[in-house]
Amino acid sequence: MKYLKNETQAKDAVQQVFLKVITELAKYKVTYFKSWVYLVAKNHCLMQLRSKGKVILHEEMPDITVHEDLDIAGLLHKDQDVVLLKQSVEELNQEQKICVTLFYLNDKSYQEIAAATGYEMMKVKSYIQNGKRNLKILLDKKMKVNK
């Protein structure tokens, strides 16, 4: 529904993706099943949209990489990590910085963040998701340099 915006098309897509998963699963060795199903479903939706000549804006289509979990709460217990985390948060773009700070450090809900910032709730979700992924990349870089 998120991508196709049409109930009938979304239902058809579910059926096709399900059948595709059954046939493709026998062909490949899948380590992360959930991530793989997500990619199959998303690629199917993108192909559907492309075949209908619909333009997909970059803003609407965040990175499809399913990232490893970043334990922000855990990092806050180590002094050195807190410094690196704060430095990394500062390097995020303005929207991501505000949303990540409010969500992880001030424990605000998406709705509260949306009300405080004026961003749409789904934008908040996207800023937090992308912000978290970027934080992980920045932190990994900094930790490598520190080693």
């Binding site: 109930e7 199903v37 789904m122």
Partner: protein, 117 residues
Amino acid sequence: MDEHKHISPNTISNEMLLQYTEGKLSDADTRMVEEAMANSVFVGDAAEGLYELENRDAINDIVGDLNKKLKTITQQQKKRLQKHKPLDINWIVIAILVLAIVAVGGYLAIHFLVKTK
């Protein structure tokens, strides 16, 4: 929260996600769902898709209908596969053995007949 105590952010149920989009969850459960959304693009996209759905009350019917259709399709495929199933390897081995026995038996019989003449 009590209802969902056993649920971790990694296993958000459909029901919980639906209740989240309807704003029916407690603060603690809302936090859990939102953390799951931040951790997994899959959960995030699912929630976003639910928001797009006009009649969210019908979601269980939609899922039931999809399951039924998929079951029918997969059963049809299964039947088709069984129809065109290649010969069982055991039968091929048995047939080869029988042929070999007949051939050897035939050879021995001819050999014995020629000798007795």
